[in-house]
């Protein structure tokens, strides 16, 4: 990926993935990463935007570590 492509946001570096069968609705992800994740009426995450911008990558990794059931992942997108 070129610097220019990253600068204009053409190719996001990383994306959030939730294993929906593992998720138990603890909600820590939305607490740590409200910019990208909100909760539904039952406490299950709604990912507003799966693409993680560089400036939120640190928080996203903390959210991944905080999930008690390891349902959240940050995955590099192919070519990213």
């Amino acid at each position: 990926m070129t610097t220019t492509a990253r600068a204009i946001g053409a190719r996001p570096v990383a994306e959030l993935r939730i294993d929906r069968t593992a998720c138990d609705g603890y909600g820590l992800c939305a607490e740590l990463l409200p910019e990208l994740i909100e909760l539904d009426d039952w406490g299950y995450p709604i990912v507003r935007d799966a693409a993680v911008p560089d400036e939120l990558l640190g928080l996203a990794r903390r959210a991944v570590e905080a999930c008690p059931v390891l349902a959240l992942r940050v995955r590099s997108r192919a070519g990213g």
């Binding site: 069968t21 998720c23 609705g25 539904d40 009426d41 039952w42």
Partner: protein, 416 residues
Amino acid sequence: MTAVTPSRSLSNGLFAGRPMAAGPELIGEHTARLGPLPGPEATRDLIPALELSGLLGRGGAGFPVGRKWRSIAERSDGRAVVLANGAEGEPLSAKDRAVMTLRPHAVLDGVLLAARVVGADEAILYIGAEHRAARRSLATALAERPLPLTVRIVDAPDRYVAGEESAAVHFVNDGDARPTNVPPRPYERGVGGRPTLVQNVESLAYAGLIARRGSDWFRAASQAGPAGLGMVTLAGVAHPGAREIEMGAPLGEIVGPSGARQETTQAVLIGGYFGRWATAAEAWDLALDPAAMRRAGLAFGCGVVSVLGTDECGLEMTGRILGYLAEQSAAQCGPCVFGLRAIADAAGRLAGRSGTPDDLARIERWGGQLAGRGACRHPDGAAGLLQSSFKIFGEEWQRHARSRTCSFAGQPARAA
């Protein structure tokens, strides 16, 4: 459940030959009509032919068949598995049963060709346990012909999600017919960890015809557009059941001979329980062609066309389907367990004239939050149905919520 009813058959399709009412086509009749199974020489280019034919998977998702076969052939190393999907858990659909029961050798042709072309050494016929006639017919057909590989029958549990492709693989591997979180997808790692072609039985049967007659024949067999021939199931009409059609035919021309008239039709549910509602005016001239339907915001899906009369309440049917889908959830993912359940309960109250404007506001909000939030597409299917009902029956939803009255009260529901 809709029954298989006899109808005039297309002269060039799966159901040419023995009338539908006369039971399964025997191997002798099948071979006399279509010729023997093409040999390896003739099917060396079958994958490109399928790609050119434009054949789309007929299980509901509409994925291109040739591309799917290619992705497995590239990985197989001769050890792939072919899983013929005849689970047909969709309550309004009867077409897979019709194909399996009445044209078992056409299905087996497709299975054997797929196995040869993608490089499989095992095949599984995954048949809904409740579809006994289909199972019997395929078991008989298996005994009637030589088989170059192991073919076994696996009874699919009678659950809506059991036919979802990762659920089918999960069941064969572990006896658990619930979808798994993907990836890996079955074409990468499926039955026994091997690349697995999960293909609907109707799609396999048409692949067998394309292998004999070529991609040009298939594309030209449509009435309009390139989608070839296809199976539909008609419901809510005087003569319900499975039909083979020339794709691209206007919907009105298909349901008309079965007893439906536009003047007495309020709306049409297209694509089954995961489908979309359309008004009679939108639906009647709609070409039953996947591309044309997509442009209209609809989907061919598994080919269900269910007619709602001008004397029936669309909310009643929508609420009943949502209740069924909530009950049939695999209960693995929170948004389905809680969200879909709550939507179904509120929609059921509103349909039954005991709901409130708050119920309606909530299901509008919740309906917009469901899509993409399950391991499988179950919540997406339910959300699509609900949202199309807002579009088509918007005033009726308001009426039920605000005044707890129904424009059709007292009229018994007719459709399945």
